[in-house]
C-alpha cells in the first residue's frame, strides 16, 4: 500500500477470538440460503417443462358444450386428435374448417377429433363453433389446468395426435401444416395430419 494509505489506515481490529464450531445462526443462515436456491432451482425446472411429445398422454376430463363428459383415457382403441384452440385466436379460424373436414372423413375409421377451448368464455366459444359448423366434441378447459399444467402449451393453436394405446405420437406447434397459412419456418416440410393418421391406422391394421 502507499505511504499515505499506511498513515491513514484505521488501527487494526483487536485480537480475533476463536470459537469452537460454527454458531447456530451461521448454520441456519447457510441452510436457509441453500434451501432458497433449491426452491428457485425446482421452480426453474418446472417452468422449463415443455409440451409432451411422446409417452402416455396426460389424462383429462372435460364437459362438452352439449353437456356430455369426455375423458381421454376412455378413448382407448381410437386415435384421438386433441386440438387446443380459442375463439380469439386468428390462426384457429383457419384451422377450424380443416379439422371439421378431417373429422367428417375419418370419424368412421376409428379417429375422434376433440377440441379444448383454452382461456375462452363460453358464449364466445359457442359463437365460434356455430360460425364454422363444427360437429366434433368441444369443451372448455376451466381454469386452464389441462392446457397449462398437463400439456404445457405455450399458446394456441397446438395439436396432439394420440394413438389407440394412449401414447402421444405427433405434436403440431401452432398452425397445422395442412392449412393455407401453414409453414412459419424457412425450409421445414412437416408431414400433414392426414398423412400421420393414415400411417397410424395402417399400423393398427397390421397388428
Amino acid at each position: 500500500m502507499t505511504d499515505s494509505d499506511f498513515l491513514q489506515q484505521i488501527d487494526p481490529a483487536p485480537e480475533p477470538i476463536r470459537h469452537g464450531g460454527l454458531s447456530v445462526g451461521s448454520i441456519v443462515l447457510i441452510t436457509g440460503v441453500v434451501l432458497f436456491a433449491a426452491v428457485i432451482g425446482i421452480a426453474l425446472l418446472r417452468q422449463q417443462q415443455t409440451q409432451p411429445t411422446s409417452g402416455q398422454a396426460p389424462d383429462f376430463t372435460i364437459t362438452t358444450f352439449d353437456g356430455q363428459p369426455f375423458t381421454l383415457s376412455e378413448q382407448r382403441g381410437t386415435i384421438v386428435v386433441v386440438n387446443f384452440w380459442a375463439s380469439w385466436c386468428a390462426p384457429c379460424r383457419e384451422e377450424a374448417p380443416l379439422l371439421e373436414a378431417l373429422w367428417r372423413d375419418y370419424q368412421d375409421r376409428g379417429v375422434i377429433v376433440v377440441g379444448v377451448a383454452y382461456a375462452d368464455l363460453d358464449n364466445d366459444s359457442r359463437a365460434f363453433i356455430d360460425e364454422f359448423g363444427i360437429t366434433y366434441p368441444n369443451g372448455a378447459d376451466i381454469g386452464t389446468t389441462i392446457s397449462k399444467n398437463r400439456y404445457h402449451i405455450l399458446g394456441v393453436p397446438e395439436t396432439f395426435i394420440i394413438d389407440q394405446n394412449g401414447n402421444i405420437r405427433r405434436f403440431f406447434f401452432q398452425l397445422l401444416p395442412d392449412s393455407a397459412g401453414g409453414d412459419d419456418d424457412l425450409f421445414v416440410k412437416i408431414a400433414s395430419v392426414r398423412a400421420t393418421l393414415d400411417i397410424l391406422l395402417a399400423e393398427a391394421e397390421t397388428l
Partner: protein, 160 residues
C-alpha cells in the same frame, strides 16, 4: 259520507308503491349504457389471461378487446363488479387478478411479508435491548456543527 282510507292504510299503500318503484330501479340501471370508463375500471383490476403481466385495459390484442366486450355485456346485464371478477377467476384462474381471491393464497401473498416484518421488529427490539445492557454509553459529542468529523474541522481550521 266521503269514503277515505284510514291514514295508516294510506301510508302502507304509499310504502308499497315506493318499494315497488325501488325494486324496479335496477332494471332502469340496465338501460343506461355502460360507458368505456365503467368497463375500464374493471379492466384495470383484471389481468390478461394470456399475455404476461398486462392489465386488461392496457392490452392491445384482439383477445383482450373481446374480453372487454364480455365485461361490458355482463355489466349491462346487471352484474356487479365483484360478480364479473368472480366469473373471470372461475374461468381463467387466480392469475387474472392482481391479488389472489382465494383466501389461502392471499394469506401466502400478504401474510408472509407481514410475518417477516413482525419478526424483524422483534429481532430489532431484542438487539437494541442487548446493546443497552452491554458496555456503557459513550458521552455524546459536543459538535453541533454541520461538518461530520470533529477532527476534520480541526484540520481544516489549521489549514486556513
Amino acid at each position: 259520507m266521503i269514503n277515505r282510507f284510514p291514514p295508516a292504510r294510506l301510508r302502507a299503500c304509499a310504502l308499497c308503491f315506493w318499494l315497488l318503484l325501488w325494486l324496479t330501479l335496477p332494471a332502469y340501471a340496465q338501460t343506461e349504457p355502460i360507458t368505456d370508463d365503467d368497463v375500464n375500471v374493471l379492466a384495470n383490476r383484471l389481468y390478461c389471461p394470456v399475455c404476461p403481466n398486462e392489465t386488461l385495459d392496457a392490452c392491445r390484442t384482439e383477445a383482450c378487446a373481446q374480453w372487454r366486450e364480455d365485461i361490458r355485456v355482463q355489466l349491462q346485464a346487471g352484474a356487479t363488479e365483484q360478480q364479473v371478477i368472480d366469473t373471470f377467476v372461475a374461468r381463467f384462474g387466480q392469475r387474472v387478478v392482481g391479488n389472489p381471491q382465494d383466501p389461502a393464497l392471499r394469506a401466502l401473498a400478504v401474510g408472509a411479508p407481514i410475518l417477516l416484518a413482525g419478526s424483524a421488529v422483534i429481532v430489532g427490539v431484542l438487539t437494541f435491548a442487548r446493546w443497552r445492557g452491554r458496555k456503557g454509553i459513550e458521552t455524546p459529542t459536543h459538535a453541533a456543527s454541520s461538518v461530520d468529523d470533529p477532527y476534520r474541522t480541526q484540520i481544516e481550521r489549521d489549514l486556513e
